[in-house]
């Protein structure tokens, strides 16, 4: 996997969470097993299982004994909520820091965001 310095199990959990958010795994569908993830990403199965178990703890996945892991009811909404909470620290903070370095004041920055939004 990508070596971005974060634990592999965290990357596994985030990959699956992202796939739940973008609808690749709708609620109620089965996600890959730890052995399938291990083979695909070429990582230790215990690491893959740790990533899946983290999502179970967060209520994103549900374990069905002997069958596998499934996307829990309401998982997408919960993930969207928590990502919105993190949005400011992850995206706004670096944006404002860089703007300040370049001498762009907050008013200008707001205008730039409006223009960017209109163009899309």
């Amino acid at each position: 996997m990508n070596d971005d310095g974060r634990p592999l199990f965290v990357q596994i959990a985030e990959d699956i969470a992202s796939a739940v958010v973008d609808g690749t795994y709708p609620e109620g569908t089965q996600v890959p097993s730890s052995n399938e993830l291990a083979a695909f990403h070429r990582i230790n199965p215990a690491t893959a299982a740790k990533g899946l178990n983290q999502l179970v703890t967060q209520g994103v996945l549900q374990k069905r004994r002997g069958i596998g892991m499934f996307v829990a009811e309401g998982a997408r909404a919960r993930l969207l909520d928590s990502r919105r909470e993190d949005f400011a620290s992850q995206y706004i903070a670096p944006l404002v820091t860089e703007a300040r370095k370049l001498g762009i004041d907050p008013e200008q920055l707001k205008k730039m965001i409006d223009v960017w939004g209109d163009e899309r």
């Binding site: 199990f9 070429r42 230790n44 690491t47």
Partner: protein, 296 residues
């Protein structure tokens, strides 16, 4: 409860006045893939030989499956040791070597061995001494995998194996381990290639254990920071320095235990791979030993 399959306690091995192992203590848990890392001559092979009763410790105790391995057929039958250069009798063919392995390992899977022979392109009727270096290594890898021994050592099994064959080995190891969990000890220099496979790392240098930790914990243990000298020095305060490089006004430090800071835009942070961490830790240990030698 996970239990230890391997336990070394204060193991020392001396050859005359050369100390190969110097009070080595570590334990390896059952049903995990462990990495036994270190430079050539660090003492890895000696440690594995002592654990498999092929060598005697000068002092200390070594146990596998909770028992001493010497003349202990019960625990040795559950152990497979694939060495860097396995030698077979001159008249042995590939299929003879496999048949011999089948009689030694109670968990031997003949069908799996056949699959692997095909995948590694090994001619079963060829005499072992006519195999290329890579093919000889592949025979060892096939035996190590198909033995399904509850405790399997791979000691640098790849001499002559190309990148494609090594990837095949890792893939088959991972898939078979997932279906048949067992304890695997991988001793290798190709750390980047196995860093995502191993769960636990023991690093030996000059006969001593330098690192004994979960691979996951090691991933975040060190960070490389690059930037203007003053800013980097300010950030580095209070952290242990593993490596230092400077180019004019720019400084690059590898630091242990430091967490990247997003507040200082002049600093650039990069993760340190397991291989880099092992190299830097070993280099620092060599420097410390040189200093000690100068003092004594």
């Amino acid at each position: 409860m996970s239990r230890n399959v391997i336990a070394m306690h204060g193991v020392t091995k001396r050859y005359g006045d050369v100390t190969a192992l110097d009070g080595v203590t570590f334990a390896l848990e059952e049903n995990r893939i462990h990495g036994l890392l270190g430079r050539n001559g660090a003492g890895k092979t000696t440690a594995m030989q002592i654990l498999t009763a092929q060598n005697f410790a000068t002092a200390g105790t070594a146990e596998i499956f909770g028992e001493r391995p010497y003349e202990n057929a019960r625990v040795l039958a559950r152990t497979c040791f694939i060495r860097e250069s396995l030698r077979y009798p001159d008249n042995y063919r590939v299929d003879h070597a496999l048949r011999a392995a089948a009689s030694v390992y109670p968990h031997w899977d003949a069908a799996f061995a056949e699959d692997l022979l095909g995948e590694f392109g090994l001619p079963r009727k060829r005499s072992c001494k006519k195999l290329s270096r890579g093919q000889q290594s592949a025979v060892g890898v096939v035996i190590g995998l198909a033995s399904r021994a509850p405790l399997t050592f791979f000691d640098e099994p790849y001499l002559g194996l190309d990148a494609v064959a090594r990837q095949l080995f890792y893939d088959r190891l991972l898939a078979d381990y997932a279906e048949h969990p067992r304890t695997v000890v991988l001793s290798t220099h190709l750390i980047d290639e196995v860093s995502d496979l191993i769960e636990h790392v023991v690093l030996i240098d000059a006969g001593r254990v330098l690192i004994d930790a979960e691979a996951e914990d090691l991933r975040g243990r060190a960070v490389t920071v690059t930037g203007p000298v003053e800013a980097v020095e300010r950030f580095a305060r209070g952290h242990s320095e593993l490596h230092r490089e400077q180019l004019g006004g720019f400084l690059r430090l590898t630091l242990s235990g430091a967490v990247p800071s997003s507040s200082d835009g002049d600093l650039r942070f990069e993760p340190v791979s397991l291989q880099q961490l092992v190299v830097r830790t070993t280099q620092r240990n060599a420097a410390i030993r040189t200093d000690e030698g100068a003092l004594s």
